[in-house]
Each structure stands twice: as C-alpha cells, then as structure tokens.
C-alpha cells in the first residue's frame, strides 16, 4: 500500500476553476493536490465560446454579474495576456429588433462600469466587414476572446511551479470520512487501474456539473441542473470583432473569433445527468445556430462548418428553494460545515469561464479561513500567469511561422521549445503550425501521454484538416517515447472518432468530402478498419 500523502487542500476538478484554485492555494503557500479524472479542460472549460465577456450581455438583466464580469475582463487582460485576444465587441441591432433597447443597454452597461458607445452602423460595417449590412444600430464594448485551454494550462503550470501536486486521469471514487468530517479522497488511476488515497484538511469540490455527483459521494446535496449548450466552429475566421445581438439574451446570438476560426453559440436546454458524458448536437440545434448566426454575419451561409460541439453548464439551485425552479445567478461558494454539518469540504460552482479567478479566490479565501489562516491574501489578480510574464527577457527573433504560432500558444514559455535541428522544426500539424519540437516539448515537459492531450496543449488536429493529415505523425512521435504500436493505433482510432462526432451533425458539403477522405486515409490507407476496435472514447 502506497504511503498516503497529506495536503493542506485537495482540489477536485481540472477545469479553469479547479486549476485556478490550485494556483491560488499554491501561491499562498498551501500544500495542494489537484485531481482531474480525465485531462485538463475536459468539461465546460473546453466546450464554450471562448468569449472574454465584457459583461454587457448581462448589464440589463443582472447588474451584479455584469460588474463582476468587467472587473475580471480587465484583470485577465493583464494576467493572462497570452491567452486573450483583444478583439473588441459589437452589439448590433437588426431591422427586426427594437432599436429603443439600445439606449437601455448602453445605460445599464455604463452603470456597471462597462464602456459602451453607440457608433454609426456605417462605421461598424467598416470596422467589421462581415457584419450583416442591414444593421440599424451598433454599440462598441470591450469584449475579447480567450483560449480556455491555454488559460487552464497556465494556471496548472503556475501551481506546479509553486509546489502543487497534479494528477490527471485520476477519478475520485470515494471520500475518506470520519463522523462529520471529510479527511481525504480515494481515487482510481484510469491508466493503470491502481487505487490511491490522499488526505487533506480541506477538500474543494470544483468539478463543474459533476460536482453534483461529487457532493453526493461526500454525503451532501448540492442541487445542480445540467444545461446543455451547443456551438458550431467554422473553418474560417469570418469576423475579427465579437458580434452580439443587442436584445435580451437569447439563443445563438454571439459570434466569437478565435485564432483561425470563429464560433457561433449558444443554446440552453436542460438535459439528464446520464447524458452529460456523451453529448450529441441535434439537427434542431444546428439549425438554430446556423439561422441565427447568418443574421449576424451572412457569409456564414457559405462558410465551411468545421464541427459542432456541446458543453454542459452547471445551473445551481438557490439554496432557499429546494424545488429547483429558482436558479442561483453568479458564483456559488458553499461551506458544507455551516450548511450541512460536514467539516473539511467546500463546493465552488456556478459562475462563468471568465470569472474563474474570482471563483478560485473565494474558494481559497474560504479554505484559508477553515485552516485558521485568514490573513494570507490572494495575489492572483496581480501576478501574471506563466507565459504572460511581463519581466523583460532577451528578445528572441522569431524566424518561422511555427515559432510565432507556438509563441501565441505558450507565451514566453515557447522559448523552451526545441527548434535547433531540422527534425525539431519539421512540421507535424501544418494547419496550425505545430512543429515536432513543440510536440516533443509537450510530451517531455507538459506530461502529455495521449493524442487528445496533445490536441489540448498544442492545437494539433484542431485546424482545417481536423487531424486528417497530422494525427499519424503525432502518433509516431508519441510511440517513439512510449513504444507500443497497438496502443497508439487505438488512440488514433479514438481521436479520429472524437473529431467525427463533431462533424456528423454537419455532415454535408466540404465537411462530408473531407470526412470521406479521412475515412479513406485512416480506414484503408492505414488499415484501421481492419482492427475492429470498438473504442468509444472515454475522454470527453
């Protein structure tokens, strides 16, 4: 039996919230373990718009959320500059919308501290040529776009630098409890099947919608409702400025640019817990996303759709309404000692991707209070994340497109990517400019063991070919580090099917042609259709 390690705090969940909490704890000098059942950003963190909200969207209906948003928006621009693109945003009024709403909207934004300026529709069209030419109104706001994978990775790296232990592919299967206290966790390593234990003074439930189930395991109830949101990624960055509809928030009214693509979203439908690990986008969802998206930018009608995907938001029931009909807005931070009589356990949930740092702050403040150390203060609002460091470094000339792309992905940490030899510089993913050096860096320094992990860290396979040409190249590099041909063939099949899952709901036009070529290359050219692998990807 392995010796059980003791921590000040265990954080369950490797999304932005969990990673942010682990970072905050580590920066405050606490001994922390972060546990994630799959890979970082597998849940809602990896399945949203990538929108750096200005908060304008909530200004009219929820001033508190709006104010929180704009503050965090400004903070993230400082501390996560390499994850943020300062695109700006427009809230447009179409002929079918009520132009009078625009003034209500601007007033509410200003009241929340969000800069909002009405501009002439003609100017809006010149600033953003893809916008619907029939707009009758436009308001400029400080929206941006953010890469949630980079953001989460940067938090994890900083946590590690400050002494945190990180375990991915470890699922919490049970809690170690005594009477009225959570003492620690029991986890299963999904790669080896081994069972491990760890103890801590405080355990933080930061597992998103799965937090509902984690709480159940701990013996308390936090009523959450899974709310599915579907989105479409287009194969082309149609707009440079975020385009929103200037109206009461509705489905499919945000088009966000990010890197080389743009994303239209989203929808909101209650689903059952038994579908949250295997979401499929429905034809009805594709329909509404396309229809409403085309109203924002008409050229979407002829733009190739790369894939469709869905994420699940945790809607948290208000504590004072057990029926669940009233949903708590904003961040929910629960101390189960005062709420349920269970010591050593807290839940942090609700919120949005971009308020993750504030959520982490609240959770860590609560952790420190429970540890009897309330005096240690949070510094995450001022300390830049690794990759966004502002300390002057020797300026390294960037020679190649790949180096520039890597710098975009990893910030200053890209300096660590080997680029000295021809082999280092050879291109694995040509769509996203990922070199063999960057792949090997991710394997060696970022502890990646799978193709899915490489996808999250380097954007391998996320470009226009959706892995069609680059996955085998990456698999061969992985295999060289970890010889086992069969395992990598299974991984390739798994990866290809995960991409296919997102293409199936939009399987027409170019998407279908490319899928046919992919089926030929992987099924026949490589011979995988003879393998009879029934691999359902168990990574989300």
């Amino acid at each position: 039996m392995n010796p059980i390690k003791h921590y000040d705090v265990i954080v369950i969940g490797g999304g932005a919230t969990g990673a942010g909490t682990a970072r905050d704890c580590a920066l405050r000098g606490l001994k922390v373990l972060l546990v994630e059942r799959h890979d970082f950003s597998s849940g809602a963190t990896g399945r949203n718009h990538g929108l750096l909200h200005s908060g304008a969207r909530y200004a009219v209906t929820d001033q508190e959320s709006a104010t929180e948003c704009i503050k965090e928006n400004m903070t993230l621009r400082r501390i996560a500059s390499h994850c943020v693109e300062e695109t700006g945003g427009l809230f447009i009024t179409l002929p079918e919308d009520d132009l009078a709403y625009q003034q209500t909207f601007i007033d509410a934004c200003r009241k929340a501290g969000i800069e909002a300026d009405a501009i002439d529709p003609g100017l809006a069209r010149r600033l953003e040529p893809s916008v619907n030419p029939s707009i009758i109104g436009a308001v400029k706001v400080p929206d941006g776009s953010i890469d949630p994978f980079r953001l989460t990775t940067a938090n994890v790296i900083d946590a590690q630098i400050h002494g945190a232990d990180i375990l991915t592919h470890h699922e919490v299967t049970d809690f170690i409890r005594s009477a009225d206290r959570i003492e620690g966790i029991v986890m299963t390593d999904s790669l080896t099947g081994q069972t491990l234990r760890a103890t801590a003074d405080v355990t933080v439930n930061a597992a998103g919608i799965w937090g509902h189930l984690i709480a159940q395991k701990a013996g308390v109830t936090v009523k959450m409702f899974p709310a599915k949101g579907a989105l479409l990624v287009f194969g082309h960055r149609v707009n440079n400025i975020v385009i929103n509809r200037c109206r009461k928030p509705a489905n499919a009214d945000i088009l966000v640019p990010g890197d080389t693509v743009c994303v239209i979203g989203t929808t909101s439908d209650r689903v059952d817990f038994d579908s949250i690990d295997n979401m499929e986008v429905t034809p009805g969802e594709v329909d509404i996303l396309l229809r409403e998206g085309i109203k924002l930018a008409p050229s979407l009608a002829t733009t190739r759709i790369l894939r469709a995907y869905a994420g699940v938001r945790p809607l948290v029931a208000s504590d004072n309404d057990p029926s669940g009909r009233s949903i708590s807005r904003g961040i929910v931070c629960l101390d189960h000692a005062s709420r349920d009589g269970l010591e050593g356990f807290i839940t942090i949930t609700g919120g949005k991707l971009m308020t993750y740092r504030l959520m982490a702050q609240w959770a860590t403040d609560m952790v420190c209070r429970k540890l009897g150390r309330p005096e240690i203060k949070c510094s995450t609002a001022s300390l830049p994340l690794p990759g966004s460091d502002l300390t002057p470094k020797a300026v390294k000339t960037l020679h190649t497109v790949a180096q520039k792309a890597a710098k975009g992905r990893h910030g200053n940490l890209a300096d660590n990517i080997p680029a000295a030899t021809d082999t280092d510089r050879s291109m694995v993913c040509e769509c996203e400019n990922v070199s063999a050096g960057e792949i090997n860096y991710a394997i060696d320094r970022l502890h990646i063991q799978s193709l899915e992990g490489l996808r999250r860290r380097t954007r391998l396979g996320m470009g226009t070919c959706q892995g069609q040409l680059c996955i085998c190249r990456a698999a061969a590099l992985l295999e060289a580090h970890n010889p086992c041909a069969q395992r990598h063939l299974d991984q390739i099949a798994s990866f290809v099917n995960e991409r296919w899952k997102g293409i199936r709901p939009v399987a027409w036009g170019d998407a279908l042609s490319e899928a046919q070529l992919t089926a030929w290359i992987y099924g026949h050219q490589l011979g995988l259709n003879q393998l009879k692998t029934t691999t359902e990807s168990n990574e989300i």
């Binding site: 190649t400 790949a402 021809d422 082999t423 510089r425 050879s426 291109m427 694995v428 040509e430 400019n433 070199s435 063999a436 040409l469 085998c472 190249r473 061969a476 590099l477 295999e479 060289a480 010889p483 041909a485 063939l489 390739i492 099949a493 290809v496 099917n497 296919w500 899952k501 199936r504 399987a507 027409w508 036009g509 279908l512 042609s513 490319e514 899928a515 046919q516 070529l517 992919t518 089926a519 030929w520 290359i521 992987y522 099924g523 026949h524 050219q525 490589l526 011979g527 995988l528 259709n529 003879q530 393998l531 692998t533 029934t534």
Partner: protein, 394 residues
C-alpha cells in the same frame, strides 16, 4: 468540338475508359479537373474484400450489373491494360500499410513492399531506411509488423543536401514535394546513402517517394541499390498513385486521346433522351459527342455533392440514389451509409434523368450508387471494371 466519345472525369475509371476507347480507334476526349482519388492510392488496387461473396451483393451493385460471371474476363482485361501501359502489377499480394497492418490486394505495383515479394528474396535481415525530418513514414510501425512475420529489422534514416534544402521550409517535407525535386544526380546520392546503411541487410525498405518524375526513376533506384529494395507507402498523398495516374494519362494521349485539363463540366444539353453536348467552366465552345461517360468520382472528387437535405450530381443534374436512414455511422472506421449514395443508373449503367435512362450517357466508377467501395475495398475494381464493361459496348 466534336468527339466520338467524351469522358467526364480523369481518374482511374475515366482513364481506363479513355484508353480502352482510344485503343479501339474512337476519337476520345477526357475532361478533367486534374484531381483524382488515384493520388491517394498507395499502389495497390482492391477488387472485393475476401470476406464478401460477390454473389451476395445487392442487385444494384456495379458488380451485379456487370454479372458475376463476367468479372474474371474483365479483371484479366484490366491487368492487360495496365501491363500495356508499362505498369507491372502482381496479383493477390499482401501489402503492409504505413502503420504496419497487413492487407491483401487484387493488384499491387511491382516494387512496392509485399509479404510475398519480400519472401521471394529469401531475406532474413531487413533495414528500414527513413528520411530525416520526413514525418509521413513510420519505420517503427513497419518494423513491428515485419518482426511478427519473422524478420529481423533495423531502423535507420538518411538525408542528402537536396533534401536538407527542402527541409528548410518545414511544411514542404511531403512525399510529393520530395519526389518532385529528385534529379538523376540525387538518385545516385540516395542510392549511395542507402547502400551505406544496408551493409548488413538482405533487403531494404524505403518510403515510396520516388517516381513523380517518371516510372524510370522508380525502377532506377531499385537497380542502383545493391540489395533488393521495396517501397513502402507513405501516409496521405501518394507518389506511387500520382505516378500511376501520370502513366495512364501518357498512355491515353499516346493512343491519340485528348486531355481537356483543369476544367469541369457545368452543364449539359439534352434532346430526345440523349445528351448532345456539354459545356465546361473554361471553354467557350460546347463539346459534342456520340457517347458520354460520367466518371466524375464521389464527394471527395466533387462528382457528387451533399446538401444539408439531399445528395445531388452537380454537373448535369442527374438522378441520384440515397440509402434510407441516417447517412453517418458514429464509428468512422465502420461502413458509412453515405458511401452507397450516388448516381442512379439502369442495368446497363445508363444514367437516369427524371427517372428515364439517357440513351448515350453512362456512369462509371465511384460516382455510382449502391457500392461502399471503402468497406468492400472495391474502389479500383469498380472503377476499372465498369469502365471496361461500358467501353466494350461502345
């Protein structure tokens, strides 16, 4: 312009029909965009997966329309056509894919790596030679497969000055680009480098990156290397496939055939249940012919187009057939229903237009419905056999 026969599509089906008709003395033209699924063919052709009984195929399947009893004569004819083109194909050999999986094929180009060819050399020790910085070739996976066959394998890699210059732009290291820059002098250098690596080997395996500048080069490298050398396919675009396509085109034009390149058919004029002429996106003139063969390929080749709610044939607006039910299976590596969608045709392969067969318009190859060439491994077979079956009647 007026021809005896016009073929729409310059892939394997189109070229096979073209060569066959030109050899019979028809004044023949092929209208081609230049793309072809052959460019992704690793140098081996499939007829029908050995697990499938040809007599169990649906009546609408191209092989059923040809008639099971006619298949053998046509396969012999196909083999002879390739042979006359200067391409020696071996029958029923077992290939090794880039990831080391073994597949048996109807025809494999001589010189490609097959289990049988390797065994015929009596080799025991093999050296698999890769190229520095070339990421579409996986020596370790191939070694793993060959070790299971009982061979001892060493993996190594080489480079040359020419290849080094290509590598300075890292996105250029694709098989097709490498093949394009190999000169006669480079071939000598490569042979020298390979020989230096292979002193202890009985046979060499090298990536199939030679041949775009001619089939001679493909053969010459094998001659210059001191041990038996076999080409192993690379992933993605295939130099071997492009070479085969190029050879077939050369054969067609040497027989007097006309290639109308870089263009696609955008409309056709029908009269009295016949296709009288077609127009393309590049020529002002209409193209008339007594007979037309539509061999424009599947979705990937744009012979078929999938709209959100239906599948269409975009050039001439002909009838299509689509299987009932969902068109996509959730496992991409399992048979996909959309593969069976395609051109509707009568038992003689005449295309249907508003449910009526067009007298002088035939469909051949991947554009046809009712065959899943991917899971059946029947793509090349359907292309060549339907093309020959139709050409024989004209």
């Amino acid at each position: 312009m007026k021809f005896d026969s016009v073929i729409i599509g310059g892939g394997l089906a189109g070229l096979t029909a073209g060569i066959s008709l030109a050899a019979k003395g028809h004044n023949t033209a092929i209208i081609a965009t230049g793309h072809s699924a052959l460019h992704f063919n690793p140098g081996s052709f499939g007829l029908l997966d050995s697990n499938i009984d040809i007599n169990s195929l649906a009546p609408g399947h191209p092989y059923s329309k040809i008639g099971a009893q006619n298949i053998t004569a046509l396969t012999d004819h196909a083999h002879a056509l390739l042979s006359d083109t200067g391409l020696n194909f071996l029958k029923d050999h077992s290939n090794i894919t880039p990831m080391g999986i073994v597949q048996t094929s109807w025809l494999t180009l001589d010189g490609m790596l097959t289990i049988e060819s390797l065994a015929a050399t009596g080799a025991k020790d093999l050296t698999i030679v890769g190229i520095d910085g070339f990421l579409d070739f996986y020596p370790r996976f191939i070694a793993s497969a060959l070790q299971k066959q009982g061979y001892n394998c060493i993996v190594s890699s080489i480079t040359t000055d020419t290849l080094g210059r290509l590598r300075s732009n890292p996105s250029e290291m694709r098989a097709a680009n490498i093949s394009r820059i190999i000169t006669a002098a480079d071939l000598d250098t490569l042979a020298r480098q390979i020989n230096a690596q292979a002193s202890n080997a009985d046979a060499i395996i090298f990536p199939a990156i030679i041949g775009l500048n001619g089939y001679d080069q493909f053969k010459q490298l094998r001659d210059k290397v001191s041990k038996p050398l076999f080409y192993a396919p690379t992933v993605g675009i295939s130099v071997t496939g492009m070479m085969i396509a190029s050879m077939l085109k050369g054969r067609f034009t040497s027989l007097g055939g006309h290639m109308l390149k870089g263009q696609s058919v955008i409309s056709g004029t029908f009269a009295n249940n016949r296709l009288s002429s077609v127009t393309t996106d590049k020529l002002d003139d209409t193209i008339k012919a007594d007979n037309f063969i539509l061999a424009a390929g599947s979705f990937f080749s744009h012979g078929l187009k999938a709209l959100p709610d239906r599948i269409v044939e975009p050039a001439l607006g002909l009838d299509t057939e689509t299987p009932d039910g969902p068109l996509c299976h959730k496992d991409l590596l399992s048979p996909q229903p959309f593969m069976k969608a395609g051109l509707a045709s009568d038992p003689s392969f005449r295309c249907l237009r508003a449910r009526s067969a067009v007298e002088n318009l035939y469909g051949a190859g991947a554009i046809l419905s009712s065959a899943d060439s991917l899971s059946e491994n029947s793509g090349a077979g359907i292309a060549m056999l339907t093309a020959l079956h139709i050409a024989n009647k004209l």
